[in-house]
Symmetry: none
Amino acid sequence: MISLRQLRYLQALSKHLHFGRAAESVSVSQPALSMQIRELETYLGITLVERQSNAVHLTREGQEVMMRAERILAEVRDLVDYARQVSLPLSGPLRLGIIPSIAPYLLPKVLPKITKTHPDLELTIRETLTETLSRELQTGDLDAVIAALPMDGAGLVSAEIFEDRFLLARKTDPTIDPKKRAEVCDLDGTNLLLLEEGHCLRDQALNYCQNIPSPSRNTLGATSLATVIQMVAAGYGVTLLPEICADVEVRDERVLLQRFAEPQPRRMVGLIWRKSSPRHQDFEVLAETLSGLLNA
Amino acid sequence: MISLRQLRYLQALSKHLHFGRAAESVSVSQPALSMQIRELETYLGITLVERQSNAVHLTREGQEVMMRAERILAEVRDLVDYARQVSLPLSGPLRLGIIPSIAPYLLPKVLPKITKTHPDLELTIRETLTETLSRELQTGDLDAVIAALPMDGAGLVSAEIFEDRFLLARKTDPTIDPKKRAEVCDLDGTNLLLLEEGHCLRDQALNYCQNIPSPSRNTLGATSLATVIQMVAAGYGVTLLPEICADVEVRDERVLLQRFAEPQPRRMVGLIWRKSSPRHQDFEVLAETLSGLLNA
DNA sequence: TAAAAATACTCCATAGGTATTTTAT
DNA sequence: ATAAAATACCTATGGAGTATTTTTA
C-alpha cells in the first residue's frame, strides 16, 4: 500500500535529483530514502526514477506521478492547516440558547466583550423557554444553553456562570425601610404576580413561596417582566424579580426592591451542553469568561 | 505526522458510524482503528468523532476533515490507477456498471474473451439503471459504465461500442412476410408492452413511437424483458426489442421479429467514464476491444 | 578511481492483535 | 445487563541507521 511518506520522499528526490541530498533534506539516511522510493516503484509497477551514477532524473511516468503526489501532499497540508485553525478555542459557529428571563439583560452586558475577545466566534442566539432549549440541545440543534441550573435532560453537563438572587418588588411605601430584608411572610395576603406557565422563573418563585400560610393570590400569567413590573407599580401586587433584571426593568419610582432575609431565594445560572460534545473546552472557557464578566 | 491509513480508517468510520464494523470493513481490529482515529485527532488537535455509547457521529470539523480526506484518497487512488495503467494496460480492479437491457446478453459474449486477453483485469460488474450508474460513476464508486449514449452527467466522456437496432417483436402471423420491414404504423392500435419506469429502453421505445396516430396502448411496466416477450407470445401486444437481446430472449416460435424500415430505431451503446480518470487509455482500449468482439 | 546508489544487517518504533476494563444505557 | 469504545500489554512488521558492496562514468 502506498504511503504519504513515499510521496514526500519522492518529492524531495524530484527536487534535489540526488538520493543523498534528498535524504538529508527530509532528515533520513540515504538508504532509507532509496528503500522507500524503490518500494513505491515496486508497488506501482513502474520505474519513476532513472538512476545514473552521475545523474538522477524522473522518468516521464515519474513526472506524472510526481505531479499527482504534489497535489496530494498540498491537500494534506491544507487539511492539517484547517485543523490547526479550527483548534483555536472559541472560534467558528456556536448556536447558543438563552431563556427569556436572562437574555435581554445578560446579552447587552456581555456580547460586546465576547465579540471583542473572540472575534472568530460566530454566535447565533435563540431565546425561548427552558424545555424547548433542553430538547434542541439534546438533538444537536443548539450547541449550548444558558439557563437556570439544574437543567433536565440526559447526557447534559454544565458549568456555573453566576448566582442570581430574587428580589422582592413591591409598590413603594414610605413606611418601609428599603434596607430592611423582606421575609416570606411579606408575601402573605398579597397578590403574587408571575409570568405565564412554562417560564422557569414562575416555577422558581412558586417554589420559594410554597410555604406561605394563606396562598390566596392571583399569579397573573404575564408574558413579559415589564408587564409584571407595571402591575406592581400600579399597586396590584408583588413579584419576585431576578437581580439581573433589576437595572433594566425597575426605573419606576413607584416600585421598591428589597432583598430577602437568609436564606435568600436564588437561582444558579449556568452554561449547559451535551456531555459528548467535542467543544467541551470551548464551553468551559465561555462559561469562565461569562462568569468573569458578570462577577467583576 | 498524518498518514493515509488514518484517513482510510476515518473514511470507514464515517461510513459505518460504528468503530467495530468500521474496523471490520478495513480488516483490522476495533482497538487498532480506535487508536488510529485517536492519533489523528491528537495530531490535528481537534475532535473528529463524537462518541456516544449508543451512537457515533462526526463532528462538524470531522465532516470537513472527512471531505478533504475523501478528496485525498480519491487522488491517491487515481495515482495508483494511472501507474497501473502505464505498467499493465487493462489490469487491476475495474468496477464496471452495465444497464440491465445489455448486461445479460453482452457479458456472456465478451467476458470469456476479455478475461482471456486481459487476465490481470479484475472486473466487478454492477447491473442497475442508467440513472444510478451515472451517479455512481460520478462519485467514483464505479470506474466505467456501459450504457446507451449519450449519458447525462458532468465531466463524463465516452467511446462508442456498437449500434443496437430495435426490432419489432409481435405474435407470429402466417400472413406476414418476416422479411418485410415494419413501419411505425404497425404499432398503431396494438398494445405496446414495455419495461417499467426507469429503464432507458422504455424511454427509447416511447421516443420512437411518439408520433403514432392513435396511442391507445397499454405500456405494461414489466421488470424483465423475458416477461415482456412472454406477453408478446401470448398475443397481448407488441414490443420493441434490442437486437442484442434477440438471440437469448426469442426462442419462442410464437414470436416474430421484424426489422423496421428506415430510419430504423436504434441506440448507440458505449463505454462511459470520468474525464478526470487516469485510466483514459484503459477505457479507450476496452471500448475498442468490445467493439471488435461485437462487430466481428 | 571516485561518486553515488544498492545491499546487508541490526535495531527500534509503532501498528496490530488479544484480553480486559470502562462507560453509558 | 449489555453493547461499545477505551485501555493494557504483548507481538511482529517494517522503517531507519551504520557499514559495506556494487555500479558506472
